[in-house]
């Protein structure tokens, strides 16, 4: 029942590294950039470029639910672009909040950050710990 002193010292030293793991500034910048490109493409009537910011699963989901190509279906979602006001990154997942109240969720895929859900809003009367309602989610 006696813990070796060397073990305690070792544990204490390693403890210093225990708080790492949040997304770094580079991840936040990349996630913000994806949302910016997505919004700029939608506003510039270039849905093909906007579609390339979606994850493969989100794009497939959109095409399945709309019964048409992503480029045709995406503008029909009626998303309202807004300036990015907050970016949060945790490990390989991110959430970007826009000024209009919409949020987008991103996954870090092998090809970089991609949107897995867009047009997400908290629903009135719904507890805070419930999923947001999204115009599109993978």
């Amino acid at each position: 029942m006696h813990a070796p002193r060397s073990l305690i010292a070792c544990c204490a030293a390693l403890l210093a590294g225990a708080t790492t793991g949040c997304g770094g500034g580079e991840d936040r910048a990349q996630a913000r950039g994806v949302v910016a490109r997505f919004q700029a493409a939608l506003e510039g009537d270039r849905p093909g470029i906007a579609c390339r910011q979606l994850s493969a699963a989100a794009r497939a989901q959109l095409e399945e639910q709309a019964g048409s190509s992503c480029a045709r279906a995406l503008p029909e979602l009626g998303l309202t672009p807004g300036a990015v006001v907050r970016v949060e990154v945790f490990v390989t997942n991110a959430k970007v909040d826009a000024a209009g109240g919409d949020s987008a969720f991103l996954d870090r895929e092998p090809t970089g950050w991609k949107l897995s859900a867009v047009g997400c809003r908290a629903v009135d009367g719904k507890p805070r710990d419930r999923p947001l309602d999204c115009a599109l989610k993978a």
């Binding site: 403890l15 994850s55 996954d107």
Partner: protein, 224 residues
């Protein structure tokens, strides 16, 4: 050269076991993490990135905190509580901080007593509780580390399900935090309780954690 390992075999063996198993945990944890990433069509990460991520550290921290809580409570509990017949207990009637004579303090210090035991005053008071203080400090630090890294890991899963991130204050009230905490605590308390009780009637020849094989079941605090 041979004298050092022979005289420190217990520390060296457990130190080596710790490093080997921590390394093994890192490797299998990395494989498990990437397996999950592939299943979610997400990016796999390098071993280096995994080792600096909260996904790795939350699993390490939740186990460390419970081990140090175990030792903290055991050190504290055995000051005041006894168990008849157990090697983990001091003899009945010795409950409490004991006399200066028993603790080799004051007029009873010896030439080889540690300097802070001989110093008297605040330094001796601090040294008299140093084992408990360090154990408790590491417990609190690693539990805090579990909270910080657990929140990051929890929020990543929140985002996977289009849910909002939690603050640290919110996270420490979640079932996730307490499930991670209590599943470790219960196992530590079971292990300590088992050792206290089983050492009354069971023996391991040659181990100081056991009474001598021929010792009475009623003998308390005896070590073989």
């Amino acid at each position: 050269m041979r004298r050092f390992p022979r005289e420190n075999g217990l520390s060296l063996a457990f130190g080596a076991l710790f490093l080997v198993t921590l390394g093994a945990q890192a490797l299998v944890g990395h494989a498990d993490f990437n397996h999950d990433q592939v299943a979610h069509q997400s990016e796999t990460v390098s071993l280096g990135r995994y080792l600096t991520s909260s996904a790795f550290w939350v699993d390490v921290m939740e186990n460390w905190q419970s081990e140090y809580l175990q030792f903290t409570l055991f050190v504290l509990g055995t000051v005041w509580l006894v168990q008849r017949g157990s090697t983990e207990s001091k003899p009945l009637g010795k409950e409490g901080g004991e006399s200066d004579e028993d603790q080799r303090l004051g007029a009873h210090v010896r030439p080889d007593s540690p300097a802070w035991a001989r110093a008297g005053g605040l330094r001796t008071a601090l040294y008299s509780n140093s084992l408990l203080a360090v154990m408790a400090l590491v417990w609190v630090a690693s539990w805090a580390g579990q909270a910080v890294t657990g929140r990051v890991e929890y929020n990543a899963r929140q985002f996977e399900h289009q849910e909002a991130a939690l603050t640290l204050g919110q996270y420490v009230t979640t079932s996730d935090f307490w499930n991670r905490t209590l599943q470790n605590w219960q196992s530590e308390f079971l292990a300590v309780g088992s050792m206290v009780v089983l050492s009354v009637v069971l023996r391991q020849r040659g181990s100081p954690q056991s009474k001598p094989v021929g010792a009475s079941h009623a003998a308390t605090g005896a070590e073989g």
